[in-house]
């Protein structure tokens, strides 16, 4: 098989539609994928990953991944560990919000300006993790 691959980081977002932090996770991850680090990141669709998606699983097995979870149940992290190996980084949204003294979001959709600012902050944390992984400086 011929490959055109370059090193990238897979982003596995908790897709949690039942928790507000899940929405924040999705929005933060899309910002990284679309705007902040588009050339360095690839989305791994968690439901497809779980349902047996070959491309998602093979990518996650070959490349470093960052999981982003919205709650302590850590579906993204646990699923990645089970299906492809230990993530290079596991981010928990409530921990980031707490670290920055931010309130937990209360919207499942239509985030408030404050919640959007929180999403941006989470996105920047993810981007930092991407850089550290690609630079080989992850802690």
């Amino acid at each position: 098989m011929i490959s055109l691959e370059v090193l990238k980081v897979g982003i596995v977002s908790c897709s949690g539609e039942a928790v507000c932090e899940g929405t924040l996770s999705r929005i933060a991850c899309r910002r990284v994928l679309d705007d902040i680090r588009p050339a360095e990141t690839v989305t791994i669709c968690l439901p497809l990953f779980l349902a047996g998606g070959k491309e998602e699983r093979e990518f996650a097995a070959r490349y470093p991944t960052i999981t982003v979870d919205g709650c302590e149940k850590r579906c993204a992290q646990k699923s990645t560990e089970k299906l492809s190996g230990k993530p290079a980084r596991s981010i928990l949204i409530p921990e980031i919000l707490k670290k920055h003294g931010l309130e937990a979001p209360t919207s499942l959709r239509d985030l408030s300006p404050e919640e959007k600012a929180s999403a941006q902050l989470v996105a920047e944390e993810i981007a930092r993790a991407v850089d550290e992984i690609l630079n080989g400086t992850e802690g």
Binding site: C14, E17, R26, C75
Partner: protein
Amino acid sequence: MSQKAKKVVVLPCSGIGKVYGALARETAYELMDRVRPGVVVTTCLPLLVIEDSEAKQLVTANPVITIDGCPKSCAQKSVEAQGVTPAQSFQAINFYKAHKDLKPDGIAELDENGRRLAAIAADELARVVDDLAAGGVR
């Protein structure tokens, strides 16, 4: 609606790679928040896969509608993996096919067309929800 009406679980595929995943999710939210609040509930799809007991209980005790964003049908398959057959399964792309004038855009957040399309789709699914809540065929 009867006091004894069941809850109806609506599970969107929750994908974050395509607009149809966002459309599926928004349709579920429309059903839950506006069209049939108190009847329609949802849970996080990945919870089913990590064997979360509450999520499993929810889909085994109530009728389930899945809305998928692509033909890989992750939502439907994830429910079926629990030994539960969804009462109804939909593909979000068909909502667009039925309303070609509302071409949706956006993945994390839908644009105005996408939101309107989701609202219409949710209105159209209301009857399915009502039938299931009233104990219709599962």
